[in-house]
């Protein structure tokens, strides 16, 4: 077993793990503020990559195209909240699950129709000349992914703790009713959380697209892995999700490298069951009986 090989797997693991953490953060924001698990979270990631691909294809300068695509996907998240979540506010958990699954299906099918079934790729942000690191090859885009994740996590931490909106979100997450009593509108918070989660997903989809492509059907698996990251983090705070995402990414990449890449996705599912069953009591403590 060569060292460079191990380093290579670790770099890959941290890169994809960062994306899982970003997706997981989206789950965490929405879940902590509204109690909803958004089964359409992975679709925001897919849309990020796809919309950016099209906007760059239109000839827009890359930075503007990227910012515009984040804005557009955020809009999708906000609209989804307004038309599908807000009217069903007092619905049961099952109803809300089916609604967000419906949203996932809708977004995915429209994407399949609009962009076709093939995978699309974005150009790397800064060239594709691999750097050498301890004998392993690291594409510069990997560094972009890690850097973006770090910036996002810190930014989100600051948003939650240093801004009024963030504190309102936090209050709503801690106790919706008490927050409402001090004038924090639950509907607005729900709207903001969906917008933030969609933006987060879009950023993840954009930074990873130059490495692993984007295709209309990537949302389910990516959503599931993001959920695993969020569940490992206990659906609270920033750092747990980050650790969860990185842990999952590393496990997946090492297993694919040393065991078999055919079962790469199965690793995430094993993690899913493990985390759900081990943490079931703690996770369920926050969830009232339905």
């Amino acid at each position: 077993m060569a060292t460079w090989q191990l380093v290579q797997y670790v770099v890959t693991g941290i890169t994809v793990g960062s994306i899982y953490a970003i997706v997981g953060l989206g789950f965490t924001i929405i879940y902590s503020v509204t109690g909803i698990i958004n089964f359409a979270q992975g679709e925001f990631v897919m849309l990020g990559g796809m919309v950016a691909f099209s906007l760059i294809g239109l000839g827009l300068p890359v930075p503007i195209a990227l910012i515009l695509s984040i804005a557009l996907v955020t809009l999708v998240g906000v609209v989804f909240n307004l038309v599908a979540i807000r009217p069903a506010r007092r619905a049961s958990t099952i109803t809300l699950i089916i609604i967000t699954i419906g949203g996932a299906l809708l977004i995915r099918a429209i994407a399949g129709l609009g962009w076709g079934r093939g995978a699309v790729s974005l150009p790397p942000f800064t060239g594709d000349e691999p750097l050498s690191f301890l004998g392993a090859y690291v594409v510069p885009q990997s560094l972009w992914v890690m850097g973006t994740t770090a910036v996002l996590m810190v930014a989100f931490y600051l948003l939650l703790n240093r801004t009024l909106v963030g504190k309102a979100l936090k209050a709503a997450a801690i106790n919706r009713r008490a927050a409402a009593l001090v004038g924090i509108d639950a509907r607005t918070m729900s709207l903001i959380s969906f917008g933030l989660a969609a933006a987060m997903g879009a950023i993840g989809g954009i930074v990873i697209a130059p490495i692993s492509y984007a295709s209309y059907d990537m949302g389910v698996m990516l959503g599931l892995k993001g959920f695993v990251a969020a569940a490992m983090g206990g659906f609270t705070g920033v750092w747990g999700v980050l650790l969860g995402g990185l842990g999952l990414g590393l496990a997946e990449s090492l297993a694919a490298g040393y065991i078999s890449s055919a079962y790469k996705d199965a690793i995430a599912l094993v993690f899913l069951f493990a985390v759900l069953l081990i943490r079931s009591r703690r996770l369920l403590a926050g969830e009232e009986e339905t």
Binding site: A91, I98, G102, L105, R108, A109, G112, L276, S280, T290
Partner: protein
């Protein structure tokens, strides 16, 4: 008096349905016959899902896996091991039910969102196994040469014969489900759905009830899956993935989540939409997404229940006006 009348109307509607179903293949249109065979197969899976979601209040986003297990077990036993197709069918149903019952215990420690995510993951794991265990399942290439079942010298090879086989099974599953819903365990299911802690205080073991219903629901799906495998003679992992699991939820939602006979309506609606719209791309799937959202907002009990409520409200208002 009113109850009696309602029951008579119900019997008449069911009798009309059965007669209509019996006549269709006699019309000689191969296309209708084949579409209705698929509807009958899907309706069996959908009714199982209704028992689980609508009556017991537990969501499953991985039900295609049980359908696939039924199909693959029956196919492998009857083709690779030359076991009689009927016996293979029985074994496939039994094995799938036992598997579902066994996983029911850990999985039903979870509730709501987490249960949904766990079933979604379970469905994907089993789908990956269908794809990767290519020594047994044929993997992505597929599994050909599945024999058709026969009784004595009477083989169910033509669509005409197979149609009656499928609908015979389908109606039997419907009647059995109806009876289960009206039995002791049916009441236990609804008690668990409406309040788990209240049902437990009455001495109902909620996990046991849920695991039993999951097993039953998986058995329905496996029966349908084995019938599907014998019908098409060739299976690959394609129809047993996440998308079919969601399609099944759409069928259950359209048919009315807590409605046994509605499952046929749901399966028929979804299949016909796909038949008519799929040639134009994934328009059917877009509509399925919209249906899920709109129906859940307007009538969380499903389409048929929503329409029934609406009818009741309208007729009550009309009666009041008449007075």
């Amino acid at each position: 008096m009113k109850g009696l009348l309602r029951r008579r109307v119900k019997t008449a509607v069911l009798a009309a349905l059965v007669i209509l179903l019996a006549i269709v293949p006699l019309l000689g249109n191969m296309y209708y016959t084949s579409v209705l065979i698929v509807i009958g197969i899907h309706a069996m899976v959908a009714v199982g899902l209704c028992l689980l979601i609508g009556y017991t209040g537990q969501v499953s986003l991985g039900h295609a896996a049980f359908y696939g297990l039924g199909a693959y077990i029956a196919a492998v036993l009857s083709t690779t091991y030359h076991i009689n197709p009927w016996l293979a069918m029985v074994l496939a149903v039994a094995a799938t039910a036992v598997f579902a019952f066994a996983i029911g215990f850990p999985i039903f420690r979870l509730r709501g969102n987490y249960l949904a995510m766990a079933t979604l993951g379970l469905g994907i794991i089993i789908w990956i196994l269908f794809r990767e265990l290519d020594g047994v399942t044929g993997g992505q290439v597929g599994f050909p040469g599945i024999p058709a079942p026969s009784i004595g010298g009477f083989a169910f090879t033509s669509d005409f014969r197979y149609y009656y086989l499928v609908w015979g099974f389908c109606l039997a599953v419907m009647v059995a489900s109806q009876n289960i819903v009206n039995s002791r365990i049916g009441r236990a299911m609804r008690a668990v759905r409406d309040s788990e802690s209240a049902s437990q205080s009455l001495g109902i073991s909620s996990v046991l009830v849920k695991a039993k219903i999951l097993a039953l629901s998986a058995a329905c799906a496996a029966l349908a899956g084995s019938l599907y495998a014998y019908y098409v003679g060739f299976i690959d992992p394609g129809p047993f993935g996440f998308l079919f699991s969601v399609r099944l939820v759409v069928m259950a939602v359209v048919g009315g989540l807590a409605s046994i006979w509605g499952a046929i309506f749901g399966a028929a609606t979804v299949r016909l939409m796909t038949e008519f719209l799929h040639p134009f791309g994934d328009i059917d799937v877009i509509l399925f997404g919209l249906i899920l959202i709109v129906v859940m907002i307007l009538s969380p009990q499903g389409v048929t229940r929503g329409l029934a409520d609406l009818w009741r409200r309208v007729s009550r208002r009309l009666a009041r006006q008449a007075r």
